[in-house]
Every structure is written in C-alpha cells, then in structure tokens.
C-alpha cells in the first residue's frame, strides 16, 4: 500500500486545572497522500502544533485514530510507535536542541541509533547542513546561533535521515525574505513521489510561492477545514 496519512474523527482533550476537559482538536478528518505537500494554517493557539505532534506520533489522540498506509499507528504500543517515528522528520516551532552540543552533533542525533558508522553520520550531517547553506556553522554551539540559523539547523536535522514524512511547525518563522525563500524552495525540492510534507504556518509567503501547497487546511476552534 502506498504511503498515506489518514486522520479519522481525531479529537484531543486536555484537562484543565479545575478538572474539566477542554477540546484542543475536534473531530479532525484529513487524508494526505504520497507526493503531496500540505499546509495547515490558523491563528496562534488554534491547535496547529498539537495536530502536528499527533501526526508525528509524539502523543495519542483522545478519540479517533490516525492510520499510515492503512496501519493504525496511533493505537500501536510504545515499542512500535518508537520505531514508526523513525520514518518522520520533525521541525519544532521553537527549535529544541541539546544545548551543550555543536550544530553538527545535534544534526547527527536522529541517525545515531540507526547503526550507521560515525564517519558516515558526519558526512550525512554535513550534507544536510550544506543543503541549507549553513555548513560553516557545523562546529559552533547551537546556543550561539541566531533564531533563523537555529531554525535551519532544526530543518537540517529533520531531513538528515531522509524521512518519508516531513513535519514542520512554522519553519520560516524567524527567517528574512531570503532565508524564507530558500527554505520554501528546499521544501518544494523535498516533495518527492514517495514523501509527504506537512507544514503548519501562518506565514503568507508559503501561499504566495504557489509551488509547495497541494492541500491547504485551516484550523479554527479545534476543527480542521480544507481550503484547497
């Protein structure tokens, strides 16, 4: 079966301090197929990041299920979900790194448990950094970088393992026009027949580029609506 992600009636509830439950996502239905680039937009706090985290297997839906290639990954046990996450590259809204490490070491991180030699790991990481024009930062500590540079390192880390599904949360948030154009161009380049790319953004430059978006969703009040 070809790669596809299907959200079926997915809801997520969070418990408030007073004990009552608040719906973050309500009955989300969506289908994303291989080769597609999807964009999810919405206001701040609409639940975009939460939806991406659900798709990336970082948390489980309270109701409904997420299937990938027909497999109900949201219902798998921890061991299988751990392995499933290897097919995903994730870019967090606020870049998350191991602060004491260099850029190169942070980019290597997803590849370490995959049985690749250290030399090969370094080469792959350097290629990923070169892809985003930041190979000169390889030996610097991640904390010494600007917000835009950190975001690019985060994207390089997400693609270093050549994931089947790339999920990015506001990848152009800290970029100037030139940087944003480069990232959008790279994401367009990443759209391959066997990959799915999902971006959450309210940056209009994604829509303006007109190259990336195959499906455009709007998340409002926890409900997902397809715009395009």
């Amino acid at each position: 079966m070809s790669l596809s992600i299907v959200c079926q009636n997915v809801s997520l509830f969070r418990r408030r301090a007073d004990g009552s439950e608040r719906a973050i996502l309500k009955h989300v239905d969506a289908t994303l197929n291989a080769g597609e680039g999807a964009m999810i937009s919405g206001k701040t706090g609409a639940g975009k990041s939460t939806l991406l985290h659900l798709l990336a297997g970082l948390l489980r839906p309270s109701e409904g299920q997420i299937t990938v290639a027909g497999e109900p990954v949201s219902r798998w046990n921890t061991v299988h979900r751990d392995l499933w996450r290897r097919k995903i590259g994730i870019v967090f809204q606020h870049p998350r790194f191991i602060n004491e490490l260099t850029v190169l070491e942070n980019v290597i991180l997803p590849m370490i448990p995959r049985g690749t030699s250290i030399t090969q790991l370094r080469n792959l990481a350097r290629q990923a950094l070169e892809f985003f024009g930041i190979s000169h930062l390889a030996k610097q500590n991640v904390l010494s970088l600007s917000g835009g540079e950190q975001q690019r390192v985060s994207i390089a880390r997400a693609i270093v393992s050549r994931p089947a599904i790339l999920i990015a949360d506001e990848p152009t948030a800290h970029q100037d026009d030139e940087g944003a154009a480069l990232i959008i161009e790279k994401f367009v380049g990443w759209k391959l027949p066997h990959t799915i790319t999902i971006v959450a953004a309210h940056d209009p430059r994604w829509a303006q580029s007109g190259k990336f978006i195959d499906k455009h969703f709007l998340l409002e009040d926890g409900r997902l609506r397809k715009l395009q």
Partner: protein
C-alpha cells in the same frame, strides 16, 4: 508485528557502537559532574570495600591461624595464675583417658627482646605450625630462629632475650614474611633454653596439648581429662580457641563497620544526585524519542553511560581497598587489630570471601547506582515523547 520485532532487535545491536561513542561524548558534556561521580563511587567502594574485605580477611586469617592448633590445650592453674606442669606425668595421665590419640608438652612464654615482648617457644621439631617450620633448622643450645616480626638489636646476628634470666642467642634463620601470623612474633629456641629463659624447671612444661580423632570428641572427653589430673587445670578446645579469636576480632572490626553508616548516607546522596540530574534532563529524553530513538536505545545509552563511569570507579575502589588491606607492608590492619607496630604479617583472603565481597559491593553500591541511572529509560518505556518535552 513479528517482522518489526526482529528488525528492532537487529537495529538495536547495530546501533550499539555509535550509541557507545555518543554515551562517552555525552559524559564529557558534564566533565566536572562526571569526574565527581567517578570519584564519589570510587571513594565509597574503597571505604565499604575495606570494611568488608577486612571482615572477610580476619575470618580467613583466623581459620588459617587455628587450623593446626591442637584439639585441647591443658594448663595447670594455681591461686596465682598458671604454673608449670610435670611433663612425663602429664603425658601419661592424658594418655590414660579414653579417646586421647596423642599427648605432648610445650614450653613457651613471653620474654622481652630489644624491640619489645616476643613469644619464646621451645622448638624440638614436634610442632609443625601447619608446615610453617618444615624447612627450618632445629635450634641447638644458644641458637634461635626468629619469626618475621621479630627484630634484633644493634647486632643483627644475635638476639638478647630477658625473661626469668637473660640469654643471648645466635640467629640461625628467620621465618619468611609470608608465614602465618601464628609465628609472627615468635622466637624458636632449644627447649632447654626456653625453660631456662622462662623459669620453667627441667622436666616441666608450660602446657599440655592433646589430640583426639575428631574435633567433636574434644568436648566429650573434657570432664574425663579434668578428673585424670591431681591438680586443677584449665582446658581450651580448638573450637573455643577459634571462637575466642573470632569474637575478639569481631569486636575490633565492629569499629570498621561504623564506616558503613556514612557510606550508606553517601550512597543515598549519590543516588539522589544522579536521579535529580536525570530529572533535570528528562526533556532530552523527549527529544531523543521525537527524533527516532527507541526506549531500548535510550536504555542502552543510559546503561553504557552508567557502566563507563561505574565499572572503572568500582574497579579502582576495589583495587585501592584491596591494597589497603592486603598490600605487603600495609601496617594499619595489624596495628588496629593485633597491636603490631612494625613489620606486620599479611592477612589472608579466600576465593569465596572475595566473591562475597564483590556480591556485597554490587548489591550495596552498583545496583542502586544503576537503578538511578536507568530511571529515565524506565520512565520513558511507557510514555509518549510529548510527556517529556513538556517537562
């Protein structure tokens, strides 16, 4: 699902080397913390290991010391203490008791040497001291063989001893350093010299030693043996001698066990520190999982990190504690437990005793430390990455 499990296992094994390299690198992210943890564990193992090794060594040494001691030692007692007993008559009377296999006399006592008191023993070759004196020449009148702990005065070829009278002996041999502490402070001389020096008249002896076929028979013949002599006697069986020695050692080694109390407190601090450090960095566990690390990978990393510090630290601690107790020339155990001020005899450790100490160290220190180090992986086992990313 089965295929996935097999793939998971293969990946886990293949991933081990880069994870090992990463684990070492990860430790160097916090060099001061790593070094302090290493030193803390090594110091703790040294303190507790020394206490446990000493305890084991004292038991093992006591066992060796008394292994070849006679079944029963008979001493004649009087209102002023002990007194010499007539040799021939005592042997004859002892042999008349049913169950007695052999009987013999010993002439021994304490005399002063230039370096302090020593035990003088009338040596005629009949007492082997467990083979220690196998190749030692029999001293003639005026000759002496010294134990390893006995030092002479200015002239290294002669030894002056003062007891009931003063005698000067020509030294013809010295027992090796590795001989048991039974002969450590002993001077072997001709029996007649021993009697003269200690004020024991000819034909008399310090005590009588009796051997029976089996140790259990010793207690059974005590009352018959007591009745056989026309004078009051005090008898000590082999079993009693061992008990007296062990209880004396245990009383003194109890002081060492006091170190275990701060040791346990130190261990609690180390474990708490490791757990706290892991909790602070628990968001890293979320990041690792989000980036494709499995719970097994995280477990491997934590285990390797713990072992990279723990195994060398425990090894160093054990080697240091072993050296403190057993290093030739290590004087403090002898001083603490036996009062020897110089040239101490070695302690002994048997294989089962050493193994027991290793097991105790593992249970006392290594397992709590490992549990604390593996705590994040155990927590991660059933959790989603988001739980850690938010922590």
């Amino acid at each position: 699902m089965e295929d996935t499990k097999i793939i998971h296992k293969i990946l886990s094994i293949r991933a081990s080397f880069p994870i090992l390299a990463w684990s070492v690198r990860d430790l160097f992210r916090y060099p001061i913390e790593t070094i302090l943890l290493f030193l803390s564990i090594a110091a703790l193992v040294t303190i507790l290991g020394t206490a446990l090794l000493l305890s084991q060594a004292l038991s093992a040494t006591a066992g060796r010391l008394l292994k070849d001691s006679p079944s029963v030692v008979v001493r004649r007692v009087s209102s002023v203490g002990w007194s010499a007993l007539p040799a021939e008559e005592s042997i004859r009377l002892a042999k008349s008791v049913p169950g007695v296999l052999q009987a013999g006399i010993r002439i021994w006592g304490t005399a002063n040497s230039p370096a302090g008191p020593v035990t003088v023993f009338g040596f005629d070759g009949s007492h082997g001291f467990g083979g220690l004196t196998k190749n030692v020449p029999l001293p003639k009148r005026g000759e002496a063989v010294l134990g390893a702990g006995v030092t002479t005065g200015e002239n290294p070829d002669f030894l002056k001893l003062i007891g009931h009278t003063a005698l000067i002996f020509k030294i013809i041999d010295q027992l090796g350093v590795k001989t048991s502490m039974v002969a450590h402070d002993m001077v072997l001389v001709h029996p007649d010299d021993a009697g003269q020096l200690l004020g024991i008249a000819e034909g008399y002896a310090s005590d009588l030693i009796v051997d029976v076929f089996h140790e259990t028979e010793a207690e059974a013949i005590l009352s018959d043996l007591s009745r056989a002599f026309p004078w009051p006697v005090r008898m000590t069986t082999h079993k009693e001698a061992v008990g007296i020695y062990i209880s004396a050692s245990a009383r003194r080694s109890g002081i060492v066990y006091i170190t275990i109390i701060p040791g346990i407190l130190a261990l609690a601090l180390i474990v708490a520190g490791v757990v706290k450090g892991q909790m602070v960095r628990s968001c890293n566990v979320g990041l690792f999982k989000a980036l494709g690390w499995t719970t097994t990978n995280i477990f491997q990393m934590q285990l390797l990190k713990a072992l990279v510090i723990g195994i060398p630290a425990v090894t160093v601690g054990m080697v240091v504690s072993y050296g403190l107790v057993f290093r030739p020339g290590s004087s403090w155990p002898g001083y603490l437990f036996f009062g020897w001020n110089h040239n101490p005899p070695p302690l002994f450790l048997n294989a089962s005793g050493a193994f027991l100490v290793l097991i105790e160290m593992a249970v006392l220190i290594f397992l709590p430390y490992l549990a604390a180090a593996l705590w994040p992986a155990l927590r991660a086992a059933g959790s989603d990455p988001q739980d850690f990313l938010e922590s």
